[in-house]
Structure formats: structure tokens, C-alpha cells
């Protein structure tokens, strides 16, 4: 080998290109609001998952000598009428609220994405059935259906998660189906068929990666919706059992005029957390939508 050729080769190296997804993430990183949202969400996840690191109190332990205590150095946000530490309940409650938000989102995206993809790709009678089922499900008011389901089955967070997923997947399925319908006519899908790709390979290798953008945006916003719905249902008494600390349950405990006026530390923190968490997730969702929504990623 001659050294001259060696140097020439060194100049011409394989440069890894940036995929449309990487480009979108780069654009996302420039969006300040979305980054603030992301930072806040990570903080919330960190403090609730790592709750034992931040408080020594057991959220379900009732300190009966210290009922309705005002905020102090031992009880940062005081105690409720059962003598449970509010700060601890706030942190541990975040676990349940976030868990419900994320797991429901995952389930919804899995069911909706799968059925939407099948309906959009294969069309015909399969599409017919899936779309009619979504039509029927979409006529049912979500809250009422969940109330109904949680009334039949015993309420725990898993029943709630399943009930929420069952009622919200049709929206995701419709979005994915629509994307698939338009992608199906793209020439690169035709070319995949011409090559001899199987149906599954076309769906998973060619179509799903190209529906990732709307799917991710939809999934993010779903988390926010689920957290709100969980709070609302718990507030009404149809969500998670009242003994389990969640943000919604904490708000429910404050359904009393004297608590509202005299003990704001009981309800302002959980209310604020729900609002801020949902707000930051929505900022993330909007940021992702803006980052994905350009011509450069489309092609």
C-alpha cells in the first residue's frame, strides 16, 4: 500500500447522516418553553419516584396526636384530618398520578396504534370493523364510561388504567389510520412492495417510523389528559380508592369550606402540581409538534 493513497482515503470517510428524527430532536432542543416543560416534568418524576429520599414520613401513617397540623419543620405542609403528612402524600401521590398517566398512554398508543395501522394498511372489511368500533366508542362520553366501568369493578388504579385506555384508544387509532392511508399511496411503499417486502415488514419498517411524529405528539398530550382525568375522577370519588394518595384524592379531601378557607396548604400544592405538570407536558407536546412539522422531516 502506498502512503499517498492511504491519506486520500482518510479524507473520504463515511459520515453518519442525521435522520429526520434526530433533526427534529435538534429543533426541539431549541424550543425554550418545551425545554422548561421537560425540565419540570423530569423534576416531578424524580421527586415522586425518589420520594423516600425527600421525606421520612410514611404517607399512610396516621399521626393521631397531630391531626390538622399547620405547616411546621416536621410536617412541611402540615397534616390532614387523619394526621397523615401532606408533603409525603404529595410526593407519593405523584407516583400514582404519573403512573396512571404514562401507563394509560402506553396502552392507548399500543391498542390504537396497532388497530389503526392494521385498518389503514389492509383496508377492506378489517378497516370497516375497526372504524365502526371506534365510531361507537367515540359516541360514549369518556368520563361516564369510566364511571360505569369503575362502578362495576372494584376501583383500583389498574381498573382505572384499563377503563381509560379502552375509552381513549379510538382517537389514536383514527390518527394512525389516517396517516397510514396517506402513506400507503407513497411511492416508497410501492417500491417496498415491488422489492417483495412482506406486509409486516412494510408496516413496521416503512410505515410506522414515518408515523412516529404524530404518534409521539399524540402520546405526549395523552399523558396530560390522563392526569387531569384521573384527578377529576378521584375528586368525584370514582377513581383510585380514597386511601391511596393521589393528587386527585388530596383535592377531594379538601372538599370542605373550612379546609378551603383555613387550610390552603392542603389543596393548593396538589392543585398546583396537577396544573403545572399538565401545562409542562402540553408545552412538550407543542414543542414536539413544531419540531416534527416541517418539510424536511416529511421527505
Amino acid at each position: 500500500m502506498q502512503p499517498a493513497i492511504e491519506t486520500k482515503k482518510a479524507v473520504q470517510t463515511v459520515r453518519k447522516g442525521q435522520s429526520p428524527f434526530q433533526l427534529a430532536l435538534k429543533r426541539f432542543m431549541k424550543n425554550k418553553m418545551a425545554l422548561v416543560g421537560l425540565g419540570f416534568l423530569i423534576l416531578i418524576i424524580f421527586v415522586s419516584v425518589g420520594a423516600p429520599l425527600f421525606t421520612d414520613h410514611d404517607p399512610s401513617y396516621s399521626d393521631l396526636y397531630n391531626v390538622d397540623a399547620e405547616p411546621s419543620s416536621t410536617h412541611l405542609l402540615g397534616t390532614n384530618d387523619s394526621g397523615q403528612d401532606v408533603f409525603a402524600r404529595l410526593l407519593y401521590g405523584g407516583r400514582i398520578s404519573l403512573l396512571i398517566g404514562f401507563i394509560t398512554m402506553l396502552l392507548t398508543v399500543a391498542i390504537g396504534g396497532f388497530l389503526g395501522a392494521l385498518a389503514g394498511y389492509y383496508g377492506g372489511w378489517l378497516d370497516m370493523i375497526v372504524m365502526r368500533v371506534t365510531d361507537i366508542l367515540l359516541t360514549l362520553p369518556t368520563t361516564l364510561t369510566v364511571l360505569f366501568l369503575t362502578a362495576i369493578f372494584q376501583t383500583d388504579e389498574w381498573v382505572l388504567i384499563i377503563a381509560l385506555a379502552v375509552t381513549t384508544w379510538p382517537n389514536t387509532a383514527r390518527i394512525i389510520r389516517g396517516e397510514f392511508l396517506s402513506l400507503r399511496e407513497q411511492e416508497y411503499i410501492l417500491s417496498a412492495k415491488a422489492i417483495g417486502c412482506s406486509g409486516t415488514r412494510i408496516i413496521f419498517r416503512h410505515m410506522l417510523p414515518n408515523t412516529l411524529a404524530p404518534l409521539v405528539v399524540n402520546a405526549t398530550l395523552l399523558v396530560a389528559v390522563m392526569i387531569t382525568v384521573e384527578s377529576a375522577l378521584s375528586f368525584l370519588g370514582f377513581g383510585v380508592p380514597p386511601t391511596v394518595p393521589t393528587w386527585g384524592n388530596m383535592l377531594k379531601e379538601a372538599q370542605d369550606i373550612s379546609v378551603l378557607t383555613d387550610q390552603p396548604w392542603l389543596w393548593i400544592p396538589p392543585g398546583l402540581l396537577v396544573t403545572l405538570t399538565v401545562l409542562s407536558i402540553n408545552f412538550i407536546g407543542d414543542g414536539l409538534r413544531d419540531a416534527f412539522d416541517t418539510k424536511a422531516t416529511r421527505r
Binding site: Q12, G17, S19, E187, L190, A192, A194, S198, A296
Partner: protein, 324 residues
């Protein structure tokens, strides 16, 4: 049995028109209506006609990307329209396609290397190392730097993307390539490069092309024989020279008279067709061209003309040239 690589017999594609809440079929768009032609090994068959005349539909049916309503497609003497999924998958190695829009025909989420090697992966040809080597070779064959294999389609120009599409079509070493308007989306300066590349590849790999286009001058450059389509029907098939020098069908005459001549001194009679292109959902009775034909006769409105061999190798479907 025959020396024809591909034989298309009475190929037809009717798209149903569905209306109302019950999706009742109220009629058919006859996109392709009883088209027959034969293609010899190693030649380039140009397929021309205005938009909506069924050129692309014909091309897609040959690859079974669309299921024909009727007719036969014989590839090396065997009717592939009856092939099941498995058999069709195998035969796909011999039939490939180059697409019109270089911006839509490459998956934006895949790198060039992944795009070009996908046919090899799908058909489980060669191991990973050999595939890499193949990709390198293919990219260089089509005039691209193989160091670009880790990049994504959005980093390339239209002409470069079309080369990537050509490399992908070549990966399986097909015998027949259907090129569906491969240059019409490109700049004129790039068109020539791509057409020349296609011609070089044909020589190198003994390819047979079906070259679909609406631009007669591009077809003239690359084709050996040309088929002219009008409203889903084949109106004339002839060797290039004979067609361009001596068009028989009035429609072909009109088309050719529209090709611009670079020399401004040359004067020529321009045939301007009257009327609109009829809807393929409701084609005229008799000869489909009769409402716009300058040489229309009584019989044209009643009887559909057959495609007959008027001169050697020169087929025409027109009552002006009846065997009697």
C-alpha cells in the same frame, strides 16, 4: 418457446366508481382497456401518451402492484397474473421498478445503505458482509460516492436520489425494469445524465426496459420501439425510426407535431387537437379517439378498431388502415 421476455395480452384494469352510503358500484374507470404488446430481451420499449392514459397503471400491473382486472402477463412464457404470493415474491427478483418522484420514492427514515441493501435482505441474499460490499458496488455503479451510504435521502438532490432509486432497482439483478417517468421530475440538465446512466446500465447488465414517459424527445433518445397509448388503449406500436418518421395513427401524428424543433428556421404544420380528453369512465363508442380525430370517418364512431400489423413490426389501431 418465444424470444419475448414479456408478453402482455389484453391487459385491462377497471377501477370501480363507488357512490352512496352503500358504496354501490355505479360504473368503471377503464384505466387500461385491452392492451397487448410484446417486449424482446434487451430492448427498451417506450410507452408514451398524455396524463391519465394508463401508462403508469400498465407499468404497475406488470409488477403486480395493481391487480389486473383481465388479461395475461407472460414473463418468460409464464403467466404471472396467476402466481400466488410465494411464487410472485420469487419472480420479483426479475422485475423491478424505478419511480417517478425521487422525493417520494425513498423512505425518509432509512439511510441510503439501508435503502439499497433492503432488496438483498428481504430476499435473504448474501450475508451481511457481502451485502455491504454489494451496496458499495451498486452505489459506485450508479455514480454515487459509496461513502454516502450512512446518509439520509433528505441530504441529496433530486438527481442523486433518482440514482439511489436506480441502485435499489438494480440490487436484485433484475431482467426487466419498468421505469415510470424516471426523469420527468428532474431538471433538464440532469435528465440527460440519468438517461445516459440508464443506457449504460442496460449494456452492462443486459437489462430490458419499459420506459414510461410523456416526453417524446426523451423516449426517442432511449427507446428501440415505442408504444403510444390513448385513453387506456394502445393505438400504435412501432420501431422508433418508423414511428418518428412515419407515424400512422392520427393521434401519433398530432403528438409528434407537438415536439419542439430546436431549429427556428424549420417550419412545420402543427396539428392541434380539438376538444377535450374524454373521461375514461365514459369513453366514446367505437374508436376512443374519434371525437378529436381530424380524419374521422363514419365507421370510427361505431366499431372499435383492432391493433393490426400494417407494415412489418408497425402496429396500428385505426380504421384508416384496414386489412381489406
Amino acid at each position: 418457446m418465444t424470444h419475448y421476455l414479456l408478453e402482455v395480452q389484453n391487459l385491462a384494469k377497471y377501477f370501480p366508481i363507488k357512490r352512496g352510503i352503500f358504496r354501490r358500484t355505479v360504473g368503471f374507470v377503464k384505466a387500461v382497456d385491452q392492451v397487448s404488446f410484446r417486449i424482446k430481451k434487451g430492448e427498451t420499449f417506450g410507452l408514451v401518451g398524455e396524463s391519465g392514459c394508463g401508462k403508469s397503471t400498465t407499468g404497475r400491473m406488470i409488477l403486480r402492484l395493481l391487480e389486473p382486472t383481465d388479461g395475461k402477463i407472460l414473463f418468460e412464457g409464464e403467466d404471472i397474473t396467476q402466481y400466488g404470493k410465494k411464487k410472485m415474491r420469487k419472480i420479483r427478483r426479475n422485475l423491478q421498478m424505478i419511480f417517478q418522484d425521487p422525493y417520494a420514492s425513498l423512505n425518509p427514515q432509512m439511510t441510503v445503505g439501508q435503502i439499497v441493501s433492503e432488496p438483498l435482505k428481504v430476499h435473504r441474499l448474501y450475508d451481511a458482509e457481502e451485502q455491504k460490499e454489494m451496496v458499495k458496488e451498486l452505489l459506485e455503479t450508479v455514480g454515487l460516492n459509496h461513502h454516502w451510504r450512512e446518509r439520509y435521502p433528505h441530504e441529496f438532490s433530486g438527481g442523486q436520489r433518482q440514482r439511489i432509486g436506480i441502485a435499489r432497482a438494480l440490487a436484485l439483478r433484475p431482467k426487466l425494469i419498468v421505469a415510470d417517468e424516471p426523469v420527468s421530475a428532474l431538471d433538464v440538465s440532469i435528465q440527460a445524465q440519468v438517461v445516459n446512466l440508464l443506457a449504460d446500465l442496460q449494456e452492462k447488465f443486459q437489462l430490458t426496459y419499459i420506459f414510461i414517459a410523456h416526453d417524446l424527445s426523451v423516449v426517442k433518445q432511449i427507446s428501440d420501439r415505442v408504444g403510444v397509448m390513448y385513453l387506456g388503449r394502445m393505438v400504435e406500436i412501432a420501431p422508433k425510426k418508423s414511428l418518428y418518421r412515419n407515424p400512422r395513427h392520427p393521434y401519433t401524428e398530432a403528438l409528434l407535431s407537438a415536439v419542439p424543433i430546436p431549429n427556428p428556421q424549420v417550419k412545420r404544420e402543427r396539428i392541434i387537437l380539438q376538444g377535450e380528453l374524454p373521461s375514461p369512465a365514459n369513453p366514446p363508442k367505437g374508436c376512443a379517439f374519434h371525437p378529436r380525430c381530424p380524419k374521422v370517418m363514419k365507421i370510427c364512431k361505431e366499431v372499435r378498431p383492432e391493433l393490426i400489423e400494417w407494415e412489418e413490426e408497425h402496429f396500428v389501431s385505426c380504421h384508416l388502415y384496414s386489412p381489406s
